[in-house]
Symmetry: C2
């Protein structure tokens, strides 16, 4: 099946165009952070399979922010869009940055969830 | 001189309320990143002394974002407002995070400046 002419080509910046500020902005949103966490656990995901609760158009926006920051790569395959993390490109450009950020986020996330569910404690 | 009743009290969240997402958002702006870089070099700065080119009201907004994320602390002293980095609080809450982010930013910043000034090269 030929690709639809209505879909614009996906733009993926080269690693030398990645900026720390764009990466921080991209990761400062809980939905986008969930996308990144999902991709760190699964090498390639189809677009409808991310564990996020947002409208498809909103998710499309989040993917664009992540793509333009250099964090994810997407490819079309018929009617499906597949997403991967650009882990090697990010690591080459900013060694350790993604691990530091996602590690800090995951290190505190369980505590926050626990508090919200059971109303406090230690 | 008594403090002015027109100025609301400055709110500084306790470290347990810091979130990675708010910190990433706060640091995703070049003016706010410059404030943080300045404070890493100087322990305490008066508000008019930061090397940023924005209107005072805009800078006030940037300070608020940084304050509410837990990144800076501000105190009033007569007509002056003094700003410090909450480096120890940040380090205790998210060890290594601020260093990783600012380090990545500073590691690439000189290259970007060089390109802009001399139009390319290696």
């Amino acid at each position: 099946m030929p690709s639809s002419p209505r879909r614009p080509a996906l733009i993926h910046p080269p690693p030398e165009d990645f900026t720390v500020l764009a990466i921080l902005h991209a990761l400062s949103d809980p939905t986008r952070m969930t996308v990144v966490q999902t991709l760190r656990a699964s090498p390639e995901c189809a677009c409808g399979t991310f564990p996020v609760e947002v409208a498809p158009s909103t998710l499309t926006h989040h993917f664009r922010v992540l793509r333009e920051a250099g964090i994810i790569r997407q490819r079309e395959d018929g009617n499906r869009r597949w997403t991967t993390l650009r882990g090697e490109d990010l690591e080459a450009r900013f060694p350790g940055l993604l691990d530091a950020i996602v590690g800090a986020y995951e290190g505190t996330r369980p505590v926050a969830l626990r508090r919200r569910r059971w109303g406090g404690g230690r």
